[in-house]
């Protein structure tokens, strides 16, 4: 390409970039200003009502839809004015910016070109094309991922908001959540609790701090990952099977907590009256018998629940 052609192309490219930028940002200013106005003027209840689908029976979907609507409105209230301002600034300086964009594109072309020392063969002529397509594809893929991430954050909002992990107890089973709440209600903060269980207890240990949880893991369960809905039964010690050295941790309480079918004895589901009462109160079902065994006792055994 000679220099005259190059400068002609440059001016055409600049003019095109300049015009596109002016039109796009002009529309953006208008669109974001309208969006911001609407987000501030329309009451949140109205927006949430729009999101609410009365024909749906899925309570989770309803909860999610209303929460997403709330998050989207909140985002529009704060982000839309900023984006309108940014669009306006770009619109105002679009001529200079389009020169910058053109310069960036040209630089990209230059840094992905072959050095002059390389021979002019078909193989070497293909290399810059490969580089540009590869780098361009990587950047394009990222745009897609960022779009999905943005959607995901909106979906997350109804569940997490700005609540502490201790409040939400995220990403754990309902049973784990219930047992954590029961132990929080039934034991002092500094309690030392020895747990006999066929479950992995990491989340209980984490959310029950500053209580200390101890557990003797069965050797065959040590490197197994649990599966949802007890699809994998992990081997566990029963209380009577524990080696004597486990009591060196000097627990204040002992908890028996079994969820797997091999370890559940239906007769024991109602053994801990305090647990039964707690579980019934939590669900509002006065006849409920929990599907898993939870028995909490003071240690050494003093007879009866804490």
């Amino acid at each position: 390409m000679n220099s005259a052609e190059s400068s002609q192309t440059r001016s055409r490219l600049t003019r095109w970039a300049c015009r596109s930028l002016a039109v796009t940002t002009g529309f953006s200013v208008l669109a974001f200003a309208l969006l911001a106005g609407a987000a501030w003027l329309i009451p949140p209840e109205v927006v949430q009502n729009w999101a609410f689908d009365p024909s749906s029976t899925d309570a989770f979907a309803q909860f999610e839809a209303v929460g997403i609507a709330e998050a989207a409105q909140w985002l529009a209230q704060w982000a839309a004015p900023v984006l309108a301002l940014v669009s306006y600034l770009i619109w105002r300086h679009h001529a200079r910016l389009s020169l910058g964009i053109e310069g960036a594109v040209r630089r990209f072309w230059r840094v992905t070109a072959n050095p002059p020392s390389l021979p002019d063969s078909l193989r070497f002529r293909l290399v810059p094309i490969v580089k540009r397509v590869a780098i361009g594809s990587a950047l394009a893929l990222a745009i897609g991922h960022w779009g999905s991430a943005f959607q995901q954050r909106l979906k997350d909002w109804p569940y997490y908001r700005f609540n502490d992990g201790d409040q939400v107890l995220p990403n754990i089973s309902d049973a784990n959540r219930e047992v954590i709440r029961y132990l929080q209600a039934s034991t002092p903060e500094n309690a030392r609790i020895f747990v006999v269980s066929d479950q992995k207890l990491f989340f209980l240990s984490y959310y029950l701090r500053p209580r200390s949880l101890f557990h003797r893991m069965h050797p065959t369960a040590e490197h197994l990952i649990p599966r949802a809905n007890q699809a994998r039964q992990l081997a566990a010690y029963r209380l009577s099977e524990l080696p004597p050295d486990v009591w060196e941790c000097r627990p204040d309480f002992v908890l028996e907590y079994f969820e797997g079918p091999e370890y559940i004895d239906p007769a024991r589901a109602t053994e801990d009256r305090a647990w039964l009462q707690f579980a019934r109160q939590r669900t509002g079902d006065s006849t409920r018998v929990p599907e898993y065994v939870v028995v909490l006792r003071r240690w050494p055994i003093t007879g009866g629940s804490p």
Binding site: G100, I101, G103, A104, R107, F108, R110, V111, T112, A113, P115, L126, V127, V130, K131, A134, I135, S137, A138, L139, L141, A142, H145, W146, S148, A149, Q152, R153, D156, W157, Y160, F162, N163, D164, G165, V168, P170, N171, F194, V195, K200, L201, F202, F203, L204, S205, Y206, R209, P210, S212, L213, F214, H215, M217, E222, H223, L224, I225, V246, C249
Partner: protein, 493 residues
């Protein structure tokens, strides 16, 4: 809100501490007058600061002193004052050396990449704060230790030393728990959402370090472009298991990636003091990787073996410093560099390794103890599953994890000779060594193969992404990889 303020104070203090540590490196190595891109200075400061903040707390507790809020505030105060002094001094030096207006304007491509990365880093912080910690490893391994450290105020908390205390991997390193504890101590309460501030910060450290070092070694345009390509690899961000979570894999990618970056930088350097500085930085960051996660120890070994193999395969020639030297002198030079790297990392790691030996081994995989020829031969058949699985993860699932492995393959195919030249050979061998270590881990682990490797391969490959992108940047670099003749015309901060 207190948590957010504490998080901001913690990272500002830590970064300023890192800045003063970087100045100390320059003073010790006698490279204070060398000007470097601001991106490199701040990228390295962020990572050194995070490493130093946790290491200081570790040593403080190791000598029997309590980890209290006062200690954390003192750490922030001291780091802040020292960092500010260094910045003021650097600015004074800069204004003496340059007229403000005489600095060259940054090229438009580099500027555009800076805008993109600025937006991405800000979005990373924002997204990170939108969720509390919610994944398995981040809570079961690291956050539980952070809470115990915060509550007990010592690394020798009886719980952490007890084999039956419920935590996953009791021997995993303490950098992340100590950093999270630092935020809790400043805030006065444990809230795991704000403790995640370190992860987007490390992301910023990673991309800035890459932009700075590559800009210095090649050109600002290429450096920033490749840093943008790295920063936008989806598995690092915005995938939920990357820098948005408090898992250790992304920090591992960061420390190992920047350690290799400085290693690679040292291989291009013929000036002794500057090479030493890069090696010491690489060594500190590699030691940092060992303090993030146990894989760091494997990477340290892989780095060494890759270095030795690259040297051997190159007939005793690896870096450009060796061009005019005779073989014995060249080897001596390389040996001295290897010793500097290894010895410094070993010295930094002694306190942690000593403490690690006292920790329980419940749920640990015991890879080294299980390393027997018989077992490896017996489990050779696992390769039939693990190798195709890795290939699928790297090349077939590109829509989910990104294109770094395709870029690497294309770079190697389009420039095979350059791919095998000196420093690039070293990078390639690191990647091959790390992949080999992963499949060997699958052969040794006392866990179900498909569950163990299948559930962790995307995170492990994430740890290697920065090195893969560095390889691409080096092979496709528009500049010929020789030591720069003149100092780069960039400002220091």
């Amino acid at each position: 809100m207190t948590g957010l303020v504490a998080a901001v104070i913690a990272v500002v203090g830590s970064t300023l501490g890192g800045r003063s540590l970087l100045a100390l490196f320059d003073r010790v190595c006698g490279t204070r007058e060398i000007q470097r891109p601001s991106a490199e200075i701040w990228g390295a400061s962020i990572l050194l600061g995070a490493g130093f903040t946790s290491a200081l707390a570790f040593v403080w507790s190791d000598i029997g002193q309590p980890l209290t809020a006062q200690f954390s505030w003192g750490q922030v105060g001291l780091s802040g004052v020292l960092g500010m002094l260094v910045i003021v001094n650097a600015r004074r030096q800069l204004s003496r050396a340059h007229d403000e207006d005489s600095r060259p304007a940054l090229a438009p491509l580099a500027r555009a990449c800076q805008v993109v990365l600025g937006f991405v880093i800000a979005a990373a912080f924002l997204q990170t704060f939108l969720t509390p910690q919610k994944f398995w490893d981040e809570r079961a391994i690291f956050a539980i230790k952070a809470k115990v450290l915060y509550e007990a105020g010592t690394i020798d908390a009886p719980e952490l030393l007890h084999p039956d205390f419920v935590q996953y991997h009791p021997r995993y390193p303490l950098m992340l728990p100590l950093l999270e504890r630092h935020v809790y101590a400043l805030a006065g309460r444990a809230n795991d959402r704000w403790a995640k501030v370190w992860f987007p910060l490390m992301y910023a450290g990673l991309v800035l370090s890459y932009a700075g070092v590559l800009a210095r070694r090649t050109s600002p345009d290429w450096g920033w472009l490749m840093a943008t390509v790295l920063g936008l690899v989806p598995v690092l961000l915005p995938d939920e298991y990357g820098f948005l979570s408090a898992q250790a894999d992304a920090p591992m990618a960061c420390f190992q990636g920047v350690a290799v970056l400085y290693f690679w930088d040292a291989l291009h350097e013929h000036r002794g003091a500057i090479q030493r500085r890069s090696l010491l930085l690489a060594s500190s960051l590699a030691a940092g990787a060992c303090f993030v996660k146990d894989e760091g120890l494997a990477y340290l070994l892989v780095n060494f073996l890759a270095w030795a193999s690259a040297l051997l395969l190159g007939g005793g020639r690896l870096g450009f410093e060796a061009l005019d030297e005779k073989l014995p002198r060249r080897l001596g030079h390389q040996l001295a560099a290897m010793t500097t790297f290894g010895l410094f990392a070993a010295i930094l790691l002694i306190p942690w390794m000593r403490h690690r030996a006292t920790l329980p081994t419940t749920t640990e995989m015991h890879y080294l103890e299980r390393m027997e020829a018989g077992r490896l031969l017996e489990r050779l058949s696992t390769l039939q599953w693990s190798l195709p699985h890795l290939v699928r993860r790297m090349f077939v699932e590109w829509r989910i994890w990104g294109l770094p492995w395709w870029l690497l393959l294309l770079a190697a195919l389009t420039a095979p000779r350059r791919s095998w030249a000196g420093p690039q050979r070293f990078l390639l061998l690191i990647l091959l060594g790390a992949l080999a270590a992963f499949v060997v881990a699958g052969m040794l682990a006392p866990a179900e193969l498909e569950e163990h490797l299948g559930g962790s391969s995307h995170r492990y490959l994430m740890q290697l992404v920065p090195v893969a992108v560095l390889f691409v940047a080096a092979v496709w670099s528009p500049a010929v990889s020789v030591p720069p003749v003149a100092e780069p015309p960039k400002r220091t901060a």
